[in-house]
């Protein structure tokens, strides 16, 4: 079995290079037989796609999707510079 370090690197690379995701900002941690995904994305569909790609890149491990959705708020107060 691959060391967790290499599994995490493989998943991270898949998320960056897979055409379905192209996500560079997702943190991947492997602990035992679990993969934890953390980061922020802008659509629920992307959150699920990232989980799919991660699962394919590390079959047999359970994926814990802790990615949160960016809620794009209305603009607030302007900042004087």
């Amino acid at each position: 079995m691959d060391a967790p370090h290499y599994v995490a690197a493989r998943v991270q690379r898949a998320l960056a290079e897979d055409e379905r995701t192209v996500e560079l900002g997702i943190r991947v941690d492997v602990r035992g037989d679990k993969i934890f995904l953390r980061g922020r994305v802008s659509a629920p569909e992307r959150r699920l796609l990232i989980e799919d790609v991660a699962r394919e890149a590390a079959p047999g491990l359970s994926v814990h999707n802790e990615i949160t959705l960016v809620e794009v708020r209305e603009p607030g107060e302007e900042e004087p510079l």
């Binding site: 192209v22 900002g25 922020r40 802008s42 794009v72 708020r73 603009p75 302007e78 004087p80 510079l81």
Partner: protein, 240 residues
């Protein structure tokens, strides 16, 4: 001279799945700002189809829109086509050059481009060794030279630099330090500090923080959507 209100956002990463979701957030922007700056990573894969989505989201806004591309927009080798599509939609796309906008009796000069990496003074790559390493660093140096040249010839009341990559470390806080050389370069800040600017806008660092300063004291703002959590933020440049 009157004040200029600059709205800014970066890393909107549009795709077909987000079509029509960004534009409503820009409703009423003309009441809040005089110009919208978009700091790269407009698309996810850099495809022409995604470029068209971006163009449709930004088309015919009541205020001028100035944009630069980001690394994602280069991914499919269609950056020139995307630039053309955006320009057809009325967006000013800067590729290491300047534009001057007149508004409310004042002029705003914007200089910008994608920028690039290399790292920050004392912990950066240099033009030494393998050709690949030298090419990497040279790319950033050439960009910085073009920005310096564009800034030096710019005659406007206010000057803003628009980039995708970061000119400083301050706004990367939250990102792993190991990847700083891929997030920006001090050469970009050095060019702006030498020639002077009121503000530098960038994106790229999704885990970074909004506010920073160049060594020369220019305000830097990271406006990546995950950082600001808004469709855009507004900075007011006051008259001198």
């Amino acid at each position: 001279m009157t004040q200029t209100r600059v709205a800014a956002v970066a890393d909107i990463h549009m795709g077909e799945d987000l079509r029509g979701r960004f534009r409503p957030k820009l409703h009423g922007i003309e009441d809040r700002a005089d110009v919208l700056l978009v700091g790269g990573d407009l698309t996810r894969h850099g495809t022409i189809a995604e470029g068209r989505v971006v163009a449709d989201e930004l088309r015919d806004l009541p205020i001028p829109v100035v944009a630069v591309l980001g690394n994602h927009d280069y991914h499919s080798d269609c950056e020139q086509a995307i630039t053309a599509i955006l320009r057809d939609a009325g967006v000013v796309v800067l590729d290491d050059e300047a534009t001057i906008l007149s508004m409310n009796g004042t002029t705003l000069g914007v200089v910008g481009g994608k920028g690039f990496g290399g790292g920050f003074a004392g912990k950066c790559a240099s033009e030494f060794g393998e050709p690949e390493t030298k090419a990497f660093v040279r790319h950033t140096r050439h960009i910085a030279e073009r920005w310096r040249h564009a800034l030096s010839g710019l005659d406007s009341d206010h000057r803003v630099v628009l980039s995708h990559y970061s000119p400083v470390k301050d706004t990367l806080m939250g990102e792993p330090t190991e990847i700083y050389p891929f997030l920006g370069s001090y050469l970009l800040a050095e060019a702006a500090d030498e020639e002077g600017a009121d503000l530098i806008i960038h994106g790229h660092a999704h885990l970074g923080t909004e506010k920073g300063l160049t060594p020369g004291g220019i305000q830097v703002r990271n406006v990546a959507v995950p950082v600001i959590g808004m469709a855009y933020t507004v900075y007011r440049l006051n008259g001198a």
